[in-house]
Amino acid sequence: MTDIAASETGTTSEVLTTRDGVPLKRSLARALRREKMRALMLIAPLLLFILLAFVAPIADMLFRSVENNIVQNTLPNTVVALRDWNPNSGEIPGEPVFEALAGDLKIAVSQKTHTRLGSRLNYEQPGIASMFRKSGRKVKNLEEPPYREQFIEIHEGWGTVENWATIKQFSSKYTDGYFLSAIDRERTEQGIAEKPEKEQIYLFLFGRTFFLSVTITISCILLGYPIAFLLANLPLRSSNLLMIMVLLPFWTSLLVRTSAWKVLLQQQGVINDFLVWTGLVTDAGRLVMINNQTGTIIAMTHILLPFMILPLYSVMKTISPTYVRAAKSLGANDWTAFWKVYFPNTIPGIGAGSILCFILSIGFYITPELVGGTSGIFISNRIAYHISSSLNWGLGAALGVILLAIVMLFYWMYDKIVGIDNVKLG
C-alpha cells in the first residue's frame, strides 16, 4: 500500500530513511531496543536477586520431588544386574545380583554412602535402613563367593522379595513414588493402588486445609466488611483512631498474637474464667475452644483480618456517596440502596481480600501448629514435619508442588469466574 502510494506520488526513495540514511524502521527498532535494554539494566539487580535467591532455590527444592539418583549412583552394578529379575516371580534374585551387590557395597562403604541409601529406601520399606547399616559393618568380612547365603546370614532382609522389589522399583533416575505417596497411593504388583486406609492422610489433610481456608476467608468477609464500611464513612477523627486499631495488631508479631489467643481461649483461660464467673457455664463444663478447629479458625481469622479490611476499605473509599443518595432520591429504601447500588461497587474489594486471605491461609503453618491440636492442623504442618523432622525432603517437595499447583489452579479459576481485572487493591 505504501509502496504503491510512494510510486504514485513519485518520491525518490522506496523506503523511508532517517537523515543519516538508515531505514527508519531499523532505526526505530534500534531505539526501542536500546530503551528496553536500559529498562532491563535498571531492574537487573532485582531480577538477578529474585532469580538467585527465590526462583532457583524453589525450583531446586521442587525438583527433589522426582529426583532419585541415589540408588543408581550407590549400587550401579546391582541395578544393572537386577534388570532381568522379575519381582512377581516370588523368588529372590540369583547369585549374579548378589555378586554385583558385594562389589557395589564395598565401594559404598568406603565412601560411607550405604547408610544414606538405607535411609532413603527406608521411607519406602521399613527396615531397610538397618539392613544397610548392618551389612555395611560386615561387608569387609565377606568370604569367597557364592555371596547369596552370606548376605542372608548378615541380614535376613536380603532374603525377602519385598526389599529387592523396593530396590528395583526405585532404581531409575526419576521416580513418581513421592507423588504417589503424597496422594495416598502406592505401586503394588497390580499397579497403582490406594494405601491401606489406616495410612491415608494427605488427601484428607488437603481437603481440610481447603475447607478451613474457605471458612476463615468467609469469616474474614463477615467481620471485615462492617469495619471497612465504618472506616470509609466515619468522620476523619474517629476513622483514624479505628484505622490504628486495625493496624496495631497487624504490626504485632504473629507469634505474640497466637500465644495471646492461647491465654484467652484455653480451658483455664480468660474467656472461660469469665463465663464461669457470670454463671453461663459450669466449672465442669468449661468450653473447649483451643487445640481444635475452633482455635485455628478464631486465631487465623484474627490474624488475616487486616488483609480483608484494607483492600475493602480502599475500594469503599472510592465509591462516591452520591450513588447511594441518588438511589434514595429515586425511592429506594436503605436496604435496596445498599444491596443494589453500594454492595455491587464493593465486589472488587471483596475479591481482592478473599484471594489474599485464602492464598495466605492455605499455606499457614505456625498458627495451626500452636492452636490447632490434632483436628485443626493443615497440610503445611506435614510438609514442615517432612522437611525438618523425618528428613523425607522428596515427599515434602511433592506435597509442596501439589499445594503450589492447587493455589495456581484457584488463581486461574478465580480469573475465569471473577476476572483478575476486577480485583482492586485501591
Binding site: N122, Y123, A129, K198, I201, F204, G373, Y385, S388, S389
Partner: protein, 364 residues
C-alpha cells in the same frame, strides 16, 4: 593518599575480622535452662582455659539435622559442635553428616584411668555420638487434683475413672505407643516385638484411643510444664529436667510419676566438612566437655544424669537451691525401679512408617 589509607584500613579490618572469626566456635543446643547449664559447666571453664576461643550459643537443636543437611549441600557448614539426642545422632551418622570418633583415643579417660569406652559403656550407641546426659521422658501430675491416692503406676495415665481430667502427651508415636502396650498387657521385653507387627501398632493406637478425647498433644518440651502450671492438664509427659524446674524452682504443686520412665540419651556430634583446624578445636572442646568432672558439674544446674559411670559419685548439690541433686536424677535407684529403654534401632527403621499411621490416626 586518602584512597590508600582507606584501602589499608579495609585490609586491616578484613584481617582483624577474619582473625576474630577463626576464634569463634558455634555450639548448637536446646536453649533455656539446658543451655544455661552447659554454659556454666562447659563453656565458661573452656573459654577460661582457652583465651582465644569465643563460644557462640545457637539454639536450633530441634531441627539441627535438617539444617546440617542443608548446610552440607550448600557446602558451608557454620556449626562446630551440635547437641543432639541419640536417635538424631544415629541419623546424622547414617547421612554422613557427623564425623566418627574413637572413644578411647579421642575422649578423656576417667580419673582412675578407665578408658572412655568402658566409662560410657553401652551409652555409645553410634560411632558419631559422644554421650553427655541420660534424661528421661516421664510424667508429672497436679498434686492438688488427683485426690488422696496420687498416681504411682504408668497405667494410671490411661485410667480416666480414677484420675479424670486432661493429659498431655507428645505429638509423636515414640514412647506413647510403648506405654500403651505396657498398659494393654504386653510384657516389657515383648513391646518392640509386638510393635514390629501392623497388629501391634493397631493395638497400641486402640489403647491410646481410650483416652484420645482427653489428650492435649504437645510438640515442644516446654508445653507440658506450662499446661500443668495453668491447670489445663492433670497429668502430662515431658523431660524430667523440665519437671524438676517446675517443682523445685517454681514451686508448683506438681509431683513426679517415675514409673516406666523412658531413658534416652543426649550428647554431642561434630559435623563433617569442617576445616582441619576447626575440627581439631571441636574435638578438643568435646574432649574437655565430656570429662568426668565437667559432666558431674552440669548436674549442679539441671537434673539430668551424667553419662559417665565415673561422674555419678561426684554429683553434688544444686548450685543455687542447695538441695541434693542425686534423688532427682532419673537414674537414682528410688526413681529407676521400673524403667524402659528406648530402642534406637527399632525406631530408626520404623519411625516413618509408624508415624504415618499415628498421624493418620490423630487427624481423624
Amino acid at each position: 593518599m586518602k584512597l590508600k589509607t582507606l584501602m589499608l584500613s579495609v585490609a586491616v579490618g578484613a584481617l582483624a575480622t577474619s582473625a576474630a572469626v577463626a576464634e569463634d566456635m558455634t555450639i548448637v543446643s536446646w536453649g533455656g535452662a539446658y543451655s544455661a547449664s552447659q554454659d556454666a559447666a562447659y563453656h565458661q571453664p573452656y573459654m577460661a582455659n582457652n583465651a582465644g576461643v569465643n563460644i557462640i550459643n545457637d539454639e536450633s537443636a530441634a531441627e539441627a539435622i535438617a539444617k546440617l543437611r542443608a548446610m552440607k549441600e550448600a557446602g558451608n557448614v557454620t556449626w562446630d559442635v551440635v547437641d543432639a539426642v541419640a536417635a538424631d545422632a544415629l541419623r546424622a551418622c547414617d547421612e554422613g553428616l557427623a564425623i566418627e570418633l574413637d572413644a578411647d583415643t579421642q575422649l578423656a579417660p576417667a580419673p582412675d584411668g578407665t578408658p572412655a569406652s568402658e566409662d560410657f559403656g553401652d551409652l555409645l550407641v553410634s560411632p558419631c555420638f559422644i554421650p553427655q546426659i541420660v534424661y528421661s521422658t516421664t510424667f508429672g501430675y497436679r498434686t492438688d487434683k488427683v485426690g488422696a491416692t496420687p498416681p504411682d503406676d504408668i497405667c494410671d495415665v490411661f485410667d480416666l475413672a480414677a484420675y479424670p481430667g486432661k493429659r498431655a502427651l507428645e505429638k509423636r508415636p515414640i514412647n506413647n505407643v510403648e506405654w500403651a502396650l505396657l498398659c494393654d498387657g504386653v510384657a516389657k521385653e515383648d513391646v518392640y516385638k509386638v510393635l514390629g507387627t501392623p497388629e501391634g501398632v493397631d493395638q497400641a493406637l486402640a489403647k491410646l484411643g481410650t483416652i484420645k478425647d482427653s489428650v492435649v498433644w504437645w510438640a515442644s518440651g516446654s508445653e507440658t510444664p506450662q499446661l500443668l502450671a495453668d491447670g489445663e492438664v492433670v497429668i502430662g509427659s515431658t523431660y524430667n529436667g523440665r519437671l524438676f524446674a517446675l517443682i523445685e524452682e517454681q514451686k508448683q504443686p506438681v509431683g513426679m510419676l517415675w514409673d516406666a520412665q523412658v531413658f534416652d540419651l543426649d550428647g554431642w556430634i561434630i559435623p563433617t566438612g569442617l576445616s582441619p583446624e576447626r575440627e581439631a578445636r571441636a574435638l578438643d572442646y568435646v574432649k574437655f566437655a565430656t570429662g568426668t568432672q565437667q559432666l558431674a558439674d552440669q548436674a549442679k544446674y539441671i537434673s539430668y544424669g551424667p553419662a559417665r559411670a565415673s561422674s555419678a559419685p561426684l554429683v553434688g548439690k544444686h548450685a543455687t537451691l542447695g538441695i541434693e541433686m542425686a534423688p532427682h536424677m532419673p537414674t537414682d535407684p528410688n526413681n529407676a525401679k521400673n524403667t524402659f529403654l528406648y530402642n534406637y534401632e527399632f525406631w530408626a527403621d520404623n519411625r516413618d512408617d509408624i508415624d504415618a499411621k499415628f498421624q493418620a490416626w490423630l487427624a481423624k
